[in-house]
Amino acid sequence: MRRLLLILVPCAALSGPARAGDDEPRDAEGAPHAADDEPREAPPETIVITPRPRARGVDDLVDPDPEHADRGRALGDSAFVTVVRLDERAGESVTVADVLARSLGVSVRSLGGLGAYTSLSVRGAASGHTAVVVDGVPLSKLASATQDLGQLELGGFTHLELYRGGVPAGLGGAGLGGALALTTVVGPTPEGAGVTVSSGTGSYGARHLRARWLGGDPDAGFHLAAGYRGADGDFDYFDDGGTPLSASDDSVETRGNNGYDRADYVARGRWRDGDGELVAGARGTWQAQGLPGPTTAPAAEASLATWQQLVDLSLRQDAWLGVDDLGARAGAYASLERQRYRDPMSEIGLGAQDTRYVTAVAGGRGGLDLALGLHRFEAALDARADVFEQDDLLGEDLADSSGRRAQAGVALADEIALAGGRVAVQPALRVELLRTEPVSDRYDMEASTAPRHEAFVSPRLSARWAIASFVALKGSAGRYVRIPTLLEMFGDRGYVLGNPALAAETGWAGDAGVVIAPARALGSIDRIYFELAGFASRPRDPIVFAMQNGFVARATNLEGADTRGLELAGSARVARTLTAAAHYTYLDARHRSRAASLDGKRLPHRPAHQLYGRADLARRVGGRLVVLWGDALLTSGNYLDQANVYELPARALFGAGAKLEVPGGLAVGVEVENLGDARVEDIELSPAPRPDLERVPRALSDFYGYPLPGRALYLTAEWSH
């Protein structure tokens, strides 16, 4: 008892009038709650919400608010979520991949260069396991499970939320790799700075120009934005000439056909009327990029052009039917993506290709939530239809194919408040039904042509225990599923064989941890935040492609893997001047295999240790904000292969930058990435093929043959009014 008191006393000293630390509370679809700008009636178990004005963007670094921005959410939500407010990165040339690469529990791999294909691995899961949700709309996984982060224009969003473990039902419910939600704030900011124009230029031809207008009033707001971003990607790289064991032909070459141009627009509006709210929006992106191919066989003419269009509409009505505690929501969306891949000189693929890919999606969703005593019930229903078509524009019959999938899901959840609200338990269940129509595969004599019907049940249990006003224990466990894509099930009528018998990849995953986030300062130190989480998963029937007799590839189920790890994050601010944040991820992801040579070996490209730190030094000098920042990303060695024969060395990448407010609403920023200009790393060879060849150099890269750029400088100017 005495020990308990000793704990509670400092707890009381540290705790203050808590608030919703997330300054943009959102519903499951990612849309702002109706109560964004007004006090919410707090459930008895949650932190008391007392909204107060807080500076946004870079100004938040020197705002007097002593709480960490995520305090309320981190303490009040059972999920482990990384939140990035993109306005706080103003004056920096960040991409979705940049942001995620420096996030807790995340490993990002890139083909190299701005705008290049980039994949995401969360907590060791394969990239296809992370759902990507844009303004509440889940992107299609019919044609491909993996989302290319390089295609997402970060400037078109205001918030990035990465659910590292359990995924809310409204975000699709079940994915081993969590979910990435990108959202857009609609309406004016508290500061009233409605118009922002930003432009920049940097190394390797990087450039951007962007304008955004946040306007209207609390009842009718809008977000209009348009921008352009591009790069040449013509950086120098180390080339071993295809002979890693011979230095005689080593050279430094310049990457070619590695540029891109991207234009995008965002138009969203929000209307409120009493307890009702309507949000509607449209978003479009066009991108043309070169495909440089591997350095061993560079491609000069291959290209990929992408056009994406997304529209959505959502309605929310609180106090529905006159019942105060009953809320209703509904929404609909449609998206169209059209890509054209051209390889006229047969530089990348097998023969010349000119192929058009079209994916169209339409869907709707609806739900109810009802607070009843200690319970808060939620029911959600969603349905969507995906259509994929692939046309060979050269008129050959190799690549034409199409497929369709209809999908419906129902999710039920109940948040039960116990122990006077200090404990919240949320059982949830999602049931998903799918019908996928196959395409014929001319090479697969064994392929089925019958439609495929599937049903999946994904139960999940989450819990949170508020030990004190600034400490919460929380965790979740559940069953997850990754449904095979059209390509995996039915092939492409070319060189990928269908496998109609392919099982969905399923598994159990769970996490548990503690969050400490006091509301008050400790002397001159405030915004204290600490998070520790352990996680584990056991995928079953993971889906991979395997070559068949050297002719064609076919998706198949492997035995599985065991993954466990630890995440540790902390941040604080000293004297309202120095904000420091660091996080560390330990990952132990190992293969389960029938082959003794592979069983228990670490999964390739999954570093065991990753440490990131960043410090922002911010002061007002002469009334103008000046920010100096630096960061470091340290990654331990990891293996290139399943047998763990080839180990990549540890990698350290450093960055630094400065931002400065100047008169006239202008701010300028300068940053340097890869400060140490790391371009080459050594691979250890053991046993060495010759005594003098224990180590050989290779270009710094995430994918073989696709080097990463060296030191890069970027200048940004931003005007706000």
Binding site: G349, G351, L487, M547, Q642, P689, Y704
Partner: protein, 386 residues
Amino acid sequence: MKQHAVLFLSLSSMLLFACGDDISDGRGGTPDAGPGGADAGADVDGAPGADAGNEPGRALALGGDYNETGTTALVDVDALTVELNPVAGVVGGDPAVRRFGDRVVVVNRGFGGNVTVLDAADLSLVAQIGIPDNAQDAAIVGDTLYVAALDAAGVHVIDLSAAEPVLGDTISLAGLDDVDGVPDCNSLHAVGSQLFVSCGILDRDTFAPRGPGAIAVIDTGDDTVTTDFTLSTQNPFGRLQPYAGDLLVSTLPNFADLTEGCLERITTGAEPGSAGCFAQGSELGGFAAAYREADGELWVAVAESFSGGRVTRHDGAAWSEGSLVPAASNPTDLAVCPGGDVLVADNAPDSRGVRVLAADGSERTGEPLDVGWPEVFAPVNAMICW
């Protein structure tokens, strides 16, 4: 979507790189080894011929993931034990292997982009030469290394006696393909001073055969083309291998029908030419993925589908019934050891590894030997035994 495109590109590339993945061990006759007569300098993998000596031998089993890394394993065929990773860094994601006397040649196809020469005694590095146009196969005559590359207009010549061997001249075979000048050559075999080269004559846009495959014959004395002739069938997809003094090559005109091609016979000597099909694909029940002569018999690994097949042998008069490996196997490569044992690369997901069969066809291994082949992409199964 882009991922789909990228995946498609990658897999297409893999197919390209993997063309001819039967990865023969190129056992050819030499003065001291195996059939083939006086084809001095040709590859010499453990033929149960003059050098057999009843030694079971050792085997090198390479694999790859069609990406960056390859696997290497040494198999003691007598003890049926495996040494994983006896040497690092010499094998890429898509390897093929041949042995020529005391030299082992690893052809790192596709992304690998090189030919690596090792000392057969201890697998130490002798030389590594960059090949920019998708090397597929190699042969050594004397101190000259010949390389067939899929995207080349001919056969590359490399002088191995140089202190630092580099890519040398190219013997042009562009005349074999008067449409694009790239005859899509993927296999070589030396018989005496004659170098036989098999070429697909494919459409560069679709990689579909435009007509019958072609064979060029090069005089290695002066590196000139002495003759060429067409095959009776399209797309010589397999490797040139010796059989009863002739050569065999398997053809695959249509990937959608694995029985459409045949195992075509090529006569050598003063007037080389096609001798027609030794066995039709329909007779075999599929594509001859690998074929080796062992003690006068022809062993064939037949791909009946993209995921399964059988091993059969021809005793000069008829094919054996059934399969010499279990029904669930997926045999993709063969290697013959000096003592007469035959190694079978089994690619079946549940039994991936090397099976060792005695000369009488009985299996010495209960389960395939685990040689570390990756699961992500089935290995290329490059094996030699000596």
